[in-house]
Amino acid sequence: MSTPFLNADSMTGGYGAADILHGCTLSVDKGQIAVIVGPNGAGKSTAMKAVFGMLNLREGKVTLGGQDITHLSPQQRVHLGMGFVPQTHNIFTSMTVQENLEMGAFIRTDDFRGTMDQVFELFPILHEKRNQAAGELSGGQRQQVAVGRALMTKPTVLMLDEPTAGVSPIVMDELFDRIIEVARTGISILMVEQNARQALEIADKGYVLVQGRNRYTDTGAALLADPDVRKSFLGG
């Protein structure tokens, strides 16, 4: 089996002296959606940050398209084509929607208007509100701005930390639809989700983390069908 496009292998590390991740492995292939679920405090967000280089790893390594990126800073990873949408504070609230997208494209020196049009096509509401301050938008719209901002670099991997946190169920379904659309364009998606059941439904790959370790790893559908997973993590 060849190495997946983004491969984080047996990551061990934490913020201080104590490790939060214990040999955690995550990977995602081109155009796939990988979802990380698990109970509170399982280290889901920490695992994401580790993949993005916001955490020092004591062991393990991260590769992107075969290149070892374990020791690169988050900024360098952005240049290599990784996009990250943090869980909170993921937009520039005082700037307009369009300015948010422009800032997303900051590292690009070429003409990024085409990409902006694509983002507007994906999220039509953003086009309508492009001159409004992003901080004035609703929760779901803000998440769209956040995802749109990350898409402006034309990433090959998009990492989303709880993209549906705090949005209504209807908006959540719509966001998931959009995420599938993004994946269809060939972008790999790695995301952490609270709404485990819905997220696993769209996942090509699912990871159940418990206390910083991989507990179950399978396709999304298989995890949904697994009685143990259902009982422990999906509420029956």
Partner: protein, 337 residues
């Protein structure tokens, strides 16, 4: 009717015109303070002395130009010297940042620590300026003194009261408008300006977007140097240059920035005028204005002055306290630390 006009002219001459000029100077000063707060996230106590340094360099260049016989009469020669003053101040603040602030920034110290550091920087700059130019009053205004003098105005209108507009006041307002327009254009229209706003808004996300923080900081210092020098020179032209007055200016400048909402450029401008007009209005003796408005025989015998001019700094303080008590974020919601 003539009485009413006369009353208005007295008011304009002693309150409106000086208030607008002083407000413009404070607004430019407060803009510098607010930009540092928004982007470097600390309160720069050394700002008053940065203004003094910029003004001092401009004065030296002005004197050199005057000695060389260069003149742009009727405008003051200082305007010609201004770019040199800005450049020198930019070098000074960039060097200060490189050798002082950067060290603390790398350690990600608390804003209050940087504030204390800036107190130290203030003492050094203050000493530097007084060491080089001396503590005395310096006059460097030349060119035409009045746009319209009190006498010409009386002759033109036939009114008993005259309205004088000094050239320096006119220049202050025009320069302030141009400067503010240029600043807002830069912040809202250019890639660099937008990245500065982004950095101010959300530092982490700006880093994730590939914005280079050290570049943002450097550009901010250059802009602040320009704003401080322009404010310092305009104040010096309008009043006179004395290093210590610039240290005193710090209070109204800060009051303006805080009243408007620290970190909010529009607020800094509004705050500048609020503070300026409060100071001028509260310390002005309204006797003559009222004298024209009330029927004969009812003129007030006192000066109708709320506060002696010696207390003008108390006005800034009082407004500062009131705003901090009732609307701590300022009139225009500024940044929270």
């Amino acid at each position: 009717m003539t009485d009413f006009l006369n009353a208005f002219i007295v008011l304009a001459n002693f309150v409106l015109v000086p208030g607008i000029a002083y407000g413009s100077q404070l607004a430019l000063g407060a803009l510098g303070v607010t930009l540092i707060f928004a982007i470097l996230r600390f309160t720069n106590i050394a700002h008053g002395d940065t203004m003094a340094f910029g003004a001092m360099i401009t004065i030296f260049v002005t004197w050199a130009l005057q000695a060389a016989g260069v003149s742009i009469d009727p405008l003051p020669t200082a305007l010609l010297a201004l770019p040199v003053g800005i450049a020198a101040t930019a070098v000074l603040v960039l060097a200060t940042d490189r050798f002082v602030y950067q060290f603390y920034r790398k350690q990600k110290v608390e804003p209050v620590m940087l504030l204390i550091v800036s107190v130290g920087v203030m003492f050094v700059m203050n000493g530097l300026v007084r060491f080089i130019i001396g503590p005395d009053d310096q006059r460097f205004t030349d060119g035409e003194r009045f746009i319209i003098s009190s006498r010409t105005f009386k002759e033109m209108t036939g009114l008993a009261e005259g309205l004088a507009i000094k050239t320096t006041q006119g220049i202050t307002v025009v320069t302030a408008i141009l400067t503010v327009a240029a600043l807002f254009w830069f912040l809202n229209r250019t890639r660099m300006g937008k990245s500065m706003r982004a950095y101010s808004d959300n530092e982490d996300l700006a880093l994730l977007s590939g914005i280079n923080p050290e570049r943002v900081v450097a550009v901010t210092w250059v802009i602040v140097a320009a704003l401080a020098t322009i404010a310092g020179v305009l104040y010096g032209l309008d009043k006179s240059f004395k290093p210590f007055t610039y240290f005193h200016l710090l209070l109204p400048v800060f009051a303006a920035a805080i009243v408007g909402g620290l970190g909010n450029p529009l607020g800094a401008i509004a705050g500048g005028f609020v503070i300026a007009f409060s100071e001028v209005t509260l310390t002005y003796a309204f006797k003559r204005v009222i004298g024209y408005l009330v029927p004969e025989g009812m003129e007030p015998s006192g000066l109708v002055q709320l506060l002696a001019t010696d207390y003008k700094f108390a006005v800034s303080f009082a407004i500062l306290v009131i705003v901090l008590l009732f609307k701590p974020t300022g009139l225009f919601a500024g940044k929270n630390t």
